[in-house]
Symmetry: C2
Subunit: 482 residues, 2 copies
């Protein structure tokens, strides 16, 4: 039992901070031993006469800092002291706390499916993807060390706005071998993540323009364009991707799409549609941003030629990221500008500083040029291919398999699962969550939710392991049977 | 004489690439020996029947990669082979080439004084500052290695939009001991460089507002605000910084200033003026962005309390960067939001990804918390203090010292030098340049150049060494005597 005296006088530290400090001190002093269960949020709130939100905030911060851990459907426990490291942690989950009452902000309202950070409490999180678990620490560490000892003068020399030439060169080599793309290093612009590059593109293309994105898709894109002061619409897609009819119904200046592997449906826009899109761009003097995010992890089918390679009229900007293929915590993305835009970039925006550290640019350049990136992609892809097969097999061989259907398109680190049920998507998500599994329905990716198919769930399986499969599959079918 | 056959058939590599490859191969094979002068761009262009721009592009790339070097007012020469390293290089100097005809773009027109990247050909560059030469590679490398081997799970865990809590905590500790500031880690927002943070602030504060900056100052700020779609004015400063009269003459919503160490004049805004500015902000419901850039390197005088600490009405945003105090090639800056804005940030912008890699955030957190940052600042400051004294002594003891005057204010990594001459600033700069010295007049930092004092030069001395002083001083007085 925790005995805590909180000072509610105005001007003192906020209550959640006092509570956090008190529990933290008790843990570090050893007054509460490892693996002790903490009181439930509700109980502690009642005991102290404060709100549950306040307790949740304190627990959230303690958990983010590693002082306590949670067990699904059980509660919070004190971490063993020797695991208390000065951990990289997340204070913002205080603000994204699912227990927070429905928010006035569309950002908060939608944060759950945008980029769920630290979904602690979920033992299996299928709400977002990254190939992080295969990050090659040893190689990266060695290359970094080499750079830091052997290339000090270069590391201290300012990178041009577009990034280090050596990295831009190796990216061109990679694109040639991996995507058959012919790109000049001058055309490559490096930036600290795709979000940064979208902002840069808006500066380059113009703000008072009509942008459009795919619906369903990453809603985050819509927010980014709007927060940068552009107008942005979400256009419905058909089974081949964005449709010409939709484009021609409006006056759009910039179209942002993922034609080679749409997320989350996995749709691949076929060649004929691609030519139509290119003709639209040329005719309307519009630009297409080709987001090739995730193509490295298409696991089946022949890679399709990029729109950028097919474009003859300088209307396509190609965009990709290493944050997806290595780890989201390394912020390196790039875009390839068509020549006319490159000229404009050099005249208008080369005064900016490159937003990525030289140290990591240099390390990544070596990582690619020495062949490690290709090996990493291959190894990772093979592992995921195997994991995917095992998961699909476990699902389709389950005695109740007739209750589900695996949709065929999405062939990357995710697939779509249709569930034959009368329960609402919301109810199913809550049931999954109550079992410690975070799975989101396709509806979350729609702006116009009326268009969303029912009972279809996005299975981002990249953060689970082979050992998790039986548990996941059982919980899943249990939930359906509820 | 170079004999080169270029293939102008469509579909072949671009001409500049062919030319670049050809010359590069000739150099690496030893067919052209070290220090051989290459044909002038004009001559080679005429000989090969291609444009001068194409040759300039090839030479630019060769130079950026270290295959050739340039001598001012002479031309390009082959580098000695053993200095050929896979250098981090700069293709953008192709576009900033001083031989390029006067540009239509204000960016290019002003790029010279914005952030001169790779001013190759200048043996002494006093046009920009950084404390890079003292970058503690060994310590940094050790901390990075430790992080990479001991903290792998944390490094792969997504950082919240505002950055890793551990780094934000250590920044608060640093601000407390170094600046006497009381800041909650929640208020700290990490970003990949100040330019990134300015953009973020515009998203937070609003785009359709009137921003204002100091004149003289970093003109880049003006461009950044305008490129982000905001209105931005440059207001003249008096001997205490930005004046209330100027502020009250317009309707400004956001004021961006460096009250503790104005660049490049070194002016420190006194306490009375600070209170006036705070009252203005409170009364007009405006915001003040306090750019504390470079305060670590004020070499004399007591550090003055930050505006942020004096602010009682949540109107001041504090901003600083590690890119200045460590090396500009590490992109880590931060801002401190007042509580009301923090709330807005968490609601509106926490969906964004943090733009700095976890690896470097984690390393920097350790670097600060283990006391290395403080030691680095102290060591660097002492070295520069000594260098500054030596340079000032050499200048004031020169037989012709009566031709110059050192202006008293600027006490950081720069000072202002007034030259008693009838020659124009432009002529003097060119004379300096002809001797391989890059020094810029204060005029370059003015938007309203009519306000600029004559014959006043900004001496950014941080990239020179003690050994350079006699040469620099002699060249300088030689130039004056021209």
């Amino acid at each position: 039992m925790l005995t805590i005296a909180l000072n509610k006088t105005a001007g003192k530290d906020p209550l959640y901070e006092q509570l956090y400090q008190h529990i933290k001190n008790s843990i570090t002093k050893g007054e509460i031993s490892a693996h002790t269960k903490l009181p439930s949020k509700r109980a502690l709130a009642a005991q102290l006469g404060i709100s549950i939100i306040t307790v949740a905030n304190s627990y959230g911060q303690l958990q983010a800092e590693g002082y306590i851990y949670s067990k699904p459907r059980s509660g919070f426990y004190v971490s063993p002291l020797d695991s208390l490291i000065n951990t990289a942690s997340n204070i913002s989950n205080i603000h994204n706390n699912p227990e927070k009452p429905a928010s006035t902000s569309r950002r908060l309202a939608s944060s759950a499916y945008i980029s769920p950070m630290h979904p602690k409490g979920f033992s299996l999180d299928l709400s977002s993807n990254s190939a992080s678990q295969y990050f090659p620490f040893q190689t990266w560490s060695r290359l970094l060390r080499q750079a830091l000892s052997q290339h000090q003068p270069e590391l201290l020399q300012r990178s041009p706005a577009a990034g280090l030439l050596s990295l831009r060169q190796t990216i061109c080599q990679h694109l040639k071998s991996f995507r058959g793309m012919e790109v000049n290093p001058e055309q490559v612009i490096i930036g600290a993540g795709t979000e940064y590059l979208y902002d840069l593109l808006i500066k380059l293309l113009g703000r008072n323009l009509n942008y459009c994105v795919e619906d369903p898709g990453y809603k985050k894109l819509l927010y980014i364009y709007e927060d940068a002061g552009a107008y942005c619409s979400a256009l419905p897609i058909d089974e081949q991707g964005i449709s010409l009819q939709e484009l021609n119904n409006g006056h759009y200046n910039v179209l942002h799409i993922s034609p080679s592997h749409h997320f989350p449906t996995g749709i691949v826009t076929p060649v004929a549609r691609r030519y139509e899109l290119l003709a639209w761009a040329e005719h309307s003097q519009s630009y297409i941003i080709e987001d090739d995010y995730d193509t490295e992890f298409r696991l089946t089918g022949k890679p399709i030629s990029s729109l950028f390679s097919m474009d003859k009229s300088s209307r396509v900007i190609y965009l990709n990221t290493f944050s997806q293929s290595l780890t989201p915590t390394i912020r390196i993305s790039y875009m390839i500008l068509p020549l006319l835009l490159l000229e404009k970039f050099n005249h208008q925006l080369s005064y900016l500083s490159c937003s990525v550290s030289n140290f990591e640019q240099y390390t990544l350049a070596q990582f690619i040029s020495q062949g490690y990136f290709e090996r990493h992609i291959n190894r990772t892809r093979n592992s995921y291919k195997k994991l995917r097969q095992q998961l699909l097999r476990a699902l389709t061989r389950h005695p109740q398999h007739s209750l589900i259907q695996i949709l065929p398109q999405a062939s990357g680190l995710y697939f779509l699962l249709r569930i034959h049920t009368t329960a609402s998507d919301d109810k199913l998500e809550k049931t999954f969550a109550s079992k410690g599994i975070r799975i989101q329905s396709l509806r979350h990716y729609f702006v116009n939710t009326a268009l969303a198919p029912d009972h279809t769930f996005v299975m981002n399986y990249s953060s689970i392991t082979q050992e998790d499969i039986p548990l996941l599959v059982n919980f899943l079918f249990d939930s359906i049977g509820y």
